[in-house]
């Protein structure tokens, strides 16, 4: 996998450097992307389960909100 680019603005010299992530940054990036995928997969599953219930009830999400308000 190609390492993503990252920009560093060093205020001590007021210069912006754009370079590939180093090993530590890349490890952190990979960890965050894994967490993000887990989070999004969970959200997608959750949404699918909600939609399945709405379909069974034959109502829309807006109608469900109205009932619960």
């Amino acid at each position: 996998m190609t390492k993503p680019m990252i920009a560093i603005h060093d205020l001590t010299i007021d210069e912006i450097t754009t370079r590939k992530m180093n090993a530590e940054e890349f490890a952190q990036y990979q960890s965050e992307m894994t967490s993000l995928k887990v989070e999004r997969d969970f959200a997608a599953t959750n949404n699918a389960e909600k939609q399945a219930i709405l379909d069974q009830l034959g109502i829309t999400a807006e109608q469900a909100k109205l009932l619960l308000s």
């Binding site: 993503p4 990252i6 560093i8 060093d10 205020l11 001590t12 965050e32 993000l36």
Partner: protein
């Protein structure tokens, strides 16, 4: 002491333009020579004196970072001066194409507790904590819009001290076409690390592509 002698004492004491007459003790006339330009009269040891006026609050622009063309994995702004009391960070109209949630944080290897209240049509609320956690304002989730124009102000108190807890607050808004217009968020938390804060990170959660525009300003506040 007669009144005529009092007057004579005053005449003798006030020798120079700007001199002030006061009692250095009971029934003891004394002269206070004029201070320097800008000095103010104060009290020290129970008698008046002139002193340099305390400095008022100030705002110093420390850096301007243009986001256009930079990868959305950052930027990391490093080397922030520790010469101020508080830090004020202003993000103006950061935008990029596609779906991008926003994150920001500082000295990322620290424990940060943050709670955010967002208004994007769903009234989202979120909190997070843990080592290396960056703030992820709830209102910025599921932007799903091109050019969301994210803007925010972030205040970090006593950022350069060795205080174990450094409180912070933030507020902002962005354009979100999915919810028909501007959404807003606000929140705050505490950054738990006794080291001075010397860096600031602003990025998208996805960290793909480049910023199309926007500017980050960092100010030192005294």
């Amino acid at each position: 002491m007669t009144r005529s002698r009092d007057v004579a004492n005053i005449d003798g004491l006030l020798t120079t333009t700007g001199d002030t007459f006061y009692a250095s003790a009971a029934a003891t006339p004394a002269r206070l020579g004029i201070g320097s330009t800008g000095q103010v009269m104060t009290v020290a040891g129970g008698v008046p004196s002139w002193a340099t006026a305390a400095a008022g609050g100030s705002l110093t622009l420390l850096s301007t970072t243009s986001l256009s063309g930079l990868p959305t994995s950052g930027p990391n702004i490093t080397g922030i001066s520790g010469s101020y009391t508080n830090l004020l960070i202003v993000i103006v109209d950061a935008y990029t194409s596609g779906d991008h949630n926003i994150q920001f944080g500082w000295n990322t290897q620290a424990t940060t507790y943050v709670t955010t209240f967002g208004s994007n049509g769903n009234g989202q609320t979120s909190s997070s904590s843990g080592t290396g956690t960056l703030c992820r304002p709830a209102g910025t989730s599921i932007i799903g819009a091109t050019s969301p124009y994210f803007s925010a102000t972030i205040n970090i108190s006593r950022y350069a001290t060795t205080d174990v807890t450094k409180p912070f607050s933030f507020a902002g808004g962005f354009y979100n076409a999915n919810f028909g217009g501007v959404s807003a968020f606000s929140g705050g938390g505490r950054h738990i690390n006794s080291s001075a804060i010397t860096s600031f990170t602003f990025r998208s959660v996805d960290q793909t592509g480049n910023w199309n525009g926007g500017t980050i300003y960092i100010y030192g506040v005294n």
